[in-house]
Symmetry: C2
Subunit: 220 residues, 2 copies
DNA sequence: CAGTGTGAAGTTGTTCACAGCA
DNA sequence: TGCTGTGAACAACTTCACACTG
């Protein structure tokens, strides 16, 4: 009947999504501090980098399982380790990408994904001109191959960078071949069974926020 | 002393950022419905597309100034018009982009920005190989030119797609030349004067959310 | 006394409940 | 009855207040 006897489970208390979104930023900075040889960092100093409330940072770090020392702060090396482990950035995450256009190619060539353990292992397209070639060492296959490969390689993550018109169809394919999470860059809302995770990265939303703020400033 | 006499000002009540972020999605769908010739759409039906609460949609649309008819819904054409106007997607927004690498090139070539009225009018880079060439009709200049052009053309928006190490330096330049809003794709936190708007689009945050959800599913 | 850690208060955004309407 | 529109209840997240520590 003891509540805390369930094997060290911090994650029983769901971590707020805003916290998850801030963590990679902490990690990026902390890796830099580590490289510069800084030993300790306090929550207030960390908070200042991101214009956050110090308590916020303390709570965020606590969610990852980090603890600090009063008057001193947190051990940088340890924090990096804890955050990498918590975020899964120290593990390998393989993904398939469908839609090797401008955006797709950019993502394939983006070196930064390595910092998060993510690797795009294959790309797919319907354009015969792209199929058969490599992009930065990543092979581009005809979409028809998707089925075989996805099943055989146990890939969990599918990235959609196709035009909007094709996105739903690709999502259906991905679901059919056992993809567990879809990272969708097309500006449409995908319909998938509820056991499949969808993360939308809609560039228009960011743009809308900027334009709105510009507008508000002008009015003052 | 009348509260509502201040010239039709819906925007005195700040629009929640989540609302702003949802609006482009509504607009995208509505434009499609318009093209298909659909005359009316109800909030519950709109909500179903995005797995939202119908009341949420009603309130979001009200923020933009839209009103509907009981039992019928909202006039699609009118909604499109209202949202475009509210978001500013029917106006012209010119931007400079610094860092013509893979991501920068992808953004330059991205056709979708036109749907939001945004146009990247020039790109800048320090790489002599890129300078002097066009990318999809957009000229790439040496970074030194940024000063003259920004001042002369009254550009409000600056997009940073440089490596992290250069981002702060570019942000300082942008602030110096009078840029009002910075759209930052580098995974660092920029320090700018508070009158300058910064919108971060950190790809790691989205990735972190996906990996976290994958992890949680596995545990069940 | 500068910082961690945490429960309480405050704020913001979402969902519910229901009145009004055609 | 199915929808809009809105005030009230609720939930999620952030900030505050303060006890605790070296």
């Amino acid at each position: 009947m003891e509540k805390s006897m369930i094997h060290e489970d911090k994650n029983l208390v769901a971590v707020p999504e805003p916290t998850i979104r801030r963590m990679p930023a902490y990690l990026t900075l902390l890796r830099q501090l580590k490289q510069e040889g800084q030993e300790y960092i306090s929550a207030p100093r960390l908070a200042a980098f991101f214009n956050l409330d110090p308590t916020q940072v303390v709570k965020d770090l606590a969610y990852a399982g980090a603890t600090g020392r009063p008057r001193v702060g947190y051990l940088v090396d340890k924090l990096v380790e804890i955050l990498e482990e918590f975020l899964g950035f120290n593990r390998k995450h393989e993904a398939f990408l469908v839609g090797a256009g401008f955006l797709g190619s950019a993502l394939i060539q983006y070196q930064g994904f390595r910092e998060a353990g993510m690797k795009i292992v294959a790309a797919f397209d319907t354009d015969k001109k792209k199929v058969g070639h490599d992009i930065a060492g990543v092979p581009v296959f005809d979409l028809g191959k998707f089925r075989d490969l996805a099943g055989r390689l146990h890939i969990n993550i599918g990235i959609i960078t196709t035009p909007s018109s094709a996105a739903q169809q690709i999502a259906d394919l991905m679901v059919g071949w056992g993809i567990k999470a879809i990272w969708n860059f097309a500006p449409v809302s995908l319909k998938v069974p509820k056991h499949v995770i969808v993360q939308d990265t809609h560039i228009y939303s960011n743009l809308a926020v900027i334009l709105n703020k510009l507008e508000n400033v002008r009015e003052k």
